[in-house]
Symmetry: C2
Subunit: 393 residues, 2 copies
């Protein structure tokens, strides 16, 4: 066994996450490790909580990073809020709604699935019908920004409907946070989770979550224990809950939290609204280039996430070959389709630090070069100009 130190290639990450990590964040990640109960670390934890409240636009006291990836943040919401026998309405319009169903069922709940086509946003009318048909439902869950399709659903409207029927809401904001408005308090979202490796442009591995008072009340009134010891918020909050006396629960991922802290400081420096505008502007430039080439979006206009652009793969083009050439010839990663969309779409991310003019030019230019060399039927010679005009507009 001859295994040496691993030196990764330098890629441009324009898939569905991880996104490009800013050097400031990588540098923060490598600062000296200190103890998870060190007073200076504890003070930093308080700052991370405040910064996450800003990112989520909430005053929720229970706002913190789960020490594991977004899937664990999702599970954290479900295992704490869903008790055996609870009926949960899950709106599915992509891969991650299906994962929500798995979570509900593994918690002993029953999932009522409301299906929409992949690529479409969740239809509020269908949710309302399901709420009327299931007056005993306790919770509504859906994905604001479907990472598998690039479609955005209307969280404000869906949460409003759920509340009218006295349901709590669980919202997936993994791809949304930092790239498109997420307004937890104004919209009244009860429980929400996200990830670090999308529009926060941090390294993957941590999942910010937030729960409002109503969600906490349901957790406090549980009749049985939360089935996960690691994710039991009653215990986790003994550590993250603040105050001078913190109880050890698990060893926090110290350096990963340095990185998240730095990513959130950078988000605050830019300002949330400026970050949303930047994602939108760069989406329009990418769109101009891709459409000039003849590629088309799978999500209808008005529901497109600026940070995740899913386009149909042109007829007869070998999906894996194109992505492979982009990676080996240009060190450029774009995303494959997931689930039902595998082989049919590419997912091009413009998330966080990846959402930059130079990345758009690289992506459009490299795609045009590779596709035209492979003989795909695309328009050539006009895409880069279209990008440039959109960026200057």
């Amino acid at each position: 066994m001859d295994i040496r130190s691993f030196n990764p290639p330098v890629r441009t990450l324009m898939g569905p996450g991880p996104s490009d990590v800013h050097p400031r964040i990588l540098e923060a990640l490598a600062r000296p490790t200190i103890g998870h109960l060190d007073p200076q670390f504890v003070a930093m934890m308080e700052e991370v909580k405040s910064l996450l409240q800003y990112a989520f636009q909430t005053d929720n006291a229970l706002t913190m990073p789960v020490s594991a990836p977004g899937s664990a943040g999702m599970e954290s919401c479900f295992v704490n809020l869903v008790e055996p026998g609870d009926k949960v309405i899950v709106c599915q319009n992509g891969v991650f709604g299906g994962r929500m169903q798995e979570n509900v069922e593994r918690c002993g709940g029953s999932a009522v699935m409301v299906q929409d086509d992949w690529g479409k946003p969740v239809d509020p009318q269908k949710l309302e019908d399901a709420l009327n048909a299931n007056p005993d439902a306790r919770i509504v869950a859906f994905v604001q920004a479907e990472t598998s399709t690039g479609a955005e659903s209307d969280t404000k409207t869906l949460v409003g409907l759920a509340h009218k029927h006295d349901c709590l809401t669980i919202v997936d904001a993994v791809t949304a946070l930092g790239g498109t408005p997420v307004k937890v308090d104004v919209w009244g979202v009860d429980a929400i989770y996200s990830g670090t490796q999308k529009c926060l442009s941090c390294t993957p591995g941590i999942s910010p979550v937030s729960f409002n008072e109503r969600a906490q009340q349901k957790i406090r009134n549980r009749t049985g224990k939360v089935q996960s010891w690691f994710l039991d918020l009653n215990l986790v909050m003994g550590y993250w809950g603040g105050g001078a006396k913190r109880a050890y629960h698990h060893t926090a991922p110290v350096n990963a939290l340095y990185a998240l802290h730095e990513a959130l400081v950078m988000l605050r420096e830019e300002g949330l609204e400026n970050a949303w505008k930047r994602h939108q502007r760069n989406h329009l430039a990418l769109k101009a280039g891709l459409e000039a080439m003849g590629l088309s979006f799978i999500v209808p206009q008005g529901a497109r996430l600026p940070q995740l652009n899913a386009v149909s793969i042109p007829e007869g083009v070998d999906d894996a070959l194109v992505r492979g050439r982009l990676l080996t010839e240009y060190n450029l990663e774009i995303g494959a389709g997931l689930g039902a969309l595998a082989g049919k779409v590419w997912r091009i991310g413009l998330m966080g630090h990846s959402s930059r003019a130079e990345n758009i030019l690289l992506c459009v230019g490299a795609l045009e070069a590779v596709l035209s060399e492979m003989g795909a039927e695309i328009n050539t010679g006009i895409a880069l100009g279209a990008v440039q005009r959109a960026l200057s507009a």
Copy 2:
């Protein structure tokens, strides 16, 4: 809100973990992030698996890092192996046996507790009695290296007893791995979990696990789904299981795995047996210094972990004040007592990169300086010499 970049102090970490992280590992952590499905990342994952097989001394194919801290590694073992109704014998001689009980019960199993005094190893006779009294038990779980007390139990003997009674075994090796022998195959351990932030001297946040064929068979024969989607090994192995075609499960903590890879490369460079010897030699030097000062170990000789030294706090000494002064005056972290031992012991770690001669001198010297200034009844002027003699022996 005026929050700036966080610059941690530079500490010497001699608590129960995290331990000092070698600069090579911090440097690896900060290498450029690439995608979790990038062929080069996938190749590195294979190396991490091989290196973990070496660390665990096993050929188990199902050997990999869980993308979350040691508590999640523990939960990973229990949620996959314990089915509702399963009877599990848990040997408890410290905090972490209690956490195992929580895990069993939250999986719907019933825990038969075998209690030993905190600070003592697990008594094989008590386990045998419990096995005889509970012929329907399916699993035996215990902690090889109790992080809360510094006591080491005899894994080989305990596993042998469990197998004689046809039980599977789950072993906690969080503090053991890399510091003291852990021989998964020779001892026949069925499922085992560890952490990165102890004797591997990596940053906290990842939990290496290994399952043998018999454990996997129990997982395959489950009648119901694993209650955790995130930790369901059937799904996780779609990603970690090897082969060219990996299925996306969750986004791996890419940079944290760079760091683990580097930590394991360093372990291999030193050699496991050399690492065990180094931990033992340095333990004896620390012991010489502490005993010369008049401090005494709470664990009987022969069951002491070289990497975690729990000593009684001298009568009348203010625990928190001493640890506070060590931290502020010498940037030295030692560990407090946990659970029943809070306020009664200090836990001094010599784990991984922290297990160095200079750390021993610093710790013994600083303790002597602070304790004597506070008027504690200790011997002065002889501890450093005792350390020096032990190191030269």
